[in-house]
């Protein structure tokens, strides 16, 4: 039995029947971390002692049959942009290198309450700014399918850890593709939930009107189990949706026959690698074989999505990152003689190049004389992007698109050209300004590297995405392909 690659419900069944213990599961993933992470470098922090202690407590719960949930005793990791009380949280920035949060994020609190076992924290692009995890201030993370290639980003460490059997699931953050791109590059499942479905309390803010927390898992069913625990209203986040959380698992086995699958024609244009397009076309045939009706739809403002996304992101990020000044927390410049120097030097030394570029552009595009042409214009076109999705969902139930026009690229390939890096997210960024949910899942290989597809639903339609994704995984094996490690 290959413990690290069990899916969550299999592992839970073995835990309940006392065939394995949480301690054994936890030790199995820790062994994988010891063996594989010197090369992959998915983890920034691993707290073995705390993990083994939580596993012991989970085993006691299991023994007594008390407060059992589908996640009791299951080891997980968390992107290091999400606050963990008492466990170092760096956001992969020098500025937060020593930060030990005194409070807990809501999503992690709910997982710990459910009895899941926290192993540690995952590498990312600094402050979630990037698409390759090369912008981490500490080290890049490598793709388990080919260590010369990037894992995607910014939740790169989380996708690698799940793909490499170093944890059973991970929490990532998605502001403009940061869960979905690494999921596709590493052959795992990643969900960007509806904006507000999961509380953002304790998520270090990048762009507050786009930011979401979501699961990275090896199966669609596992993603449903994790979302079930972390979703729902929260008195500490006034943008968390008040709607009750549906039973996601109940949706999984509903038949998909007769559902309408929309292919946005603007997403199937030239520029996609041949192997990626072939994998997508094959996936579409699978959905047809499952009885879904395939139709073409239009999202006419797609060519403007990337510009809208980055303009608004820069503006929101430049405001959000003003709080990092070296006074109440963070690594402060030591030689500063005046308060002005303290701010200037702390931020000069603490932030990497991409963070500085984005703050500078945010401040510039918000400044008098440029605000109307850049920021306000982007907010108007954002309205059109949102209307595109509303109209498309009058004609279909779910949209299918590529995740990325290419498979995972090589380390160093795009790092010197920020705009080329931004274009990696061309198929992913439109959903965040619109607020709708999107699921990335494996759909094949090209040149030995994973290819992902993206299913997009209307607001609050996570159940439908799980239903369609799960139906696909019942008739395909891509999600059971594991990297040669």
């Amino acid at each position: 039995m290959d413990l690290p690659y069990l899916n969550i419900s299999q592992a839970q069944a073995l835990l309940r029947s006392r065939q394995i213990s949480s301690l054994e599961l936890t030790q199995a993933v820790l062994d994988r971390i010891h063996r594989l992470d010197p090369v992959l470098r998915a983890w920034l922090t691993v707290d073995e002692k705390a993990a083994l202690e939580q596993a012991r407590r989970a085993d006691e719960r299991l023994q007594r049959g008390e407060r059992l949930t589908p996640l009791t005793g299951i080891p997980f990791g968390v992107k290091d942009s999400i606050i963990t009380q008492g466990m170092r949280t760096t956001c992969a920035s020098r500025l937060l290198e020593n930060y030990i949060p005194p409070y807990q994020s809501t999503a992690v609190e709910r997982l710990l309450e459910a009895g899941a076992v926290l192993i540690g924290k995952h590498n990312l692009d600094e402050f979630s700014m990037g698409s390759s995890t090369e912008n981490s201030a500490f080290f890049p993370t490598r793709n388990p399918w080919d260590p010369q290639r990037v894992p995607g980003g910014s939740s790169g460490g989380s996708a690698v850890a799940v793909a490499a059997g170093q944890c059973f699931f991970a929490l990532g953050g998605d502001t403009g593709g940061s869960i979905r791109l690494p999921a596709a590059f590493c052959n795992v499942v990643g969900l960007k939930p509806t904006y507000g479905r999961v509380s953002r309390y304790g998520l270090i803010a990048l762009a507050s009107s786009f930011d979401t927390i979501g699961p990275l898992t090896r199966t669609v069913e596992d993603a449903a189990l994790v979302l079930q625990v972390i979703a729902g209203p929260d008195g500490r986040d006034s943008t968390a949706l008040p709607d009750p959380v549906p039973d996601y698992r109940a949706a999984l086995d509903r038949p998909v026959k007769g559902l309408r699958l929309g292919l946005p024609r603007e997403y199937f244009v030239s520029g996609m690698e041949a192997g990626v397009e072939a994998a997508l076309r094959e996936a579409i045939r699978r959905f047809e074989a499952l009885g879904m009706e395939v139709c073409e739809v239009s999202l006419p403002h797609t060519p403007y999505a990337l510009a809208v996304y980055y303009l608004i992101l820069f503006a929101e990020a430049s405001a959000n990152l003003a709080r990092f000044d070296g006074v109440r927390f963070g690594v402060a410049a030591e030689e500063a003689q005046t308060i002005a120097d303290l701010y200037l030097q702390t931020r000069q030394k603490g932030f990497g190049a991409e963070v500085k570029r984005r703050i500078l552009l945010g401040a510039f595009t918000l400044s008098a004389g440029y605000y109307d042409a850049y920021y306000l214009k982007a907010q108007r076109v954002r309205t059109l992007l949102r209307q595109d999705f509303e109209r498309a969902f009058e004609e279909c139930d779910v949209l299918l698109t590529p995740v990325s026009p290419s498979v995972a690229f090589r380390l160093g390939e795009k790092i010197a050209d920020p705009l080329a890096m931004y274009l990696s997210d061309i198929y992913l960024v439109a959903v965040n300004p619109a607020g709708v949910p999107a699921l990335a899942l494996p759909c094949g290989f090209a040149d030995g590297l994973p290819v992902g597809m993206q299913l997009i639903g209307r607001h609050g339609a996570e159940s439908l995405l799980f239903q369609v994704g799960h139906a696909y995984q019942q008739v395909t094996e891509w999600h059971h392909m594991y990297p040669p490690l």
């Binding site: 005194p102 409070y103 006074v327 000069q348 570029r357 108007r380 309205t383 059109l384 931004y422």
Partner: protein, 101 residues
Amino acid sequence: MPEKGPLLTPELVQHIASLVQIGLSEAEAEAFVPQLNAILEYFNLLQEVDTTQVLPAFLLSGLRNIFRPDQPELGLTRQAFLSNVPQRQGEYVCVPIVLEE
């Protein structure tokens, strides 16, 4: 509407950096100029969209503020709040000189 061609110069980049309280070396500012201008030029793409009849999205979000009951509850201790302060004396946060003589 922004003019065509490069907008930012090293001097302007330094000025913006001072507004957002980030120290920049001359070399950093020089390196940023072509990168930032390439991104700003890409954004000009939006000018071709007619938005005269379109409201900005932040007026249409449909989100309503959500209030929780105003009940007293225990928050963090002072010790927890101060636990990450880089420079402190007892229960005070230390900063360099704010006002000059």
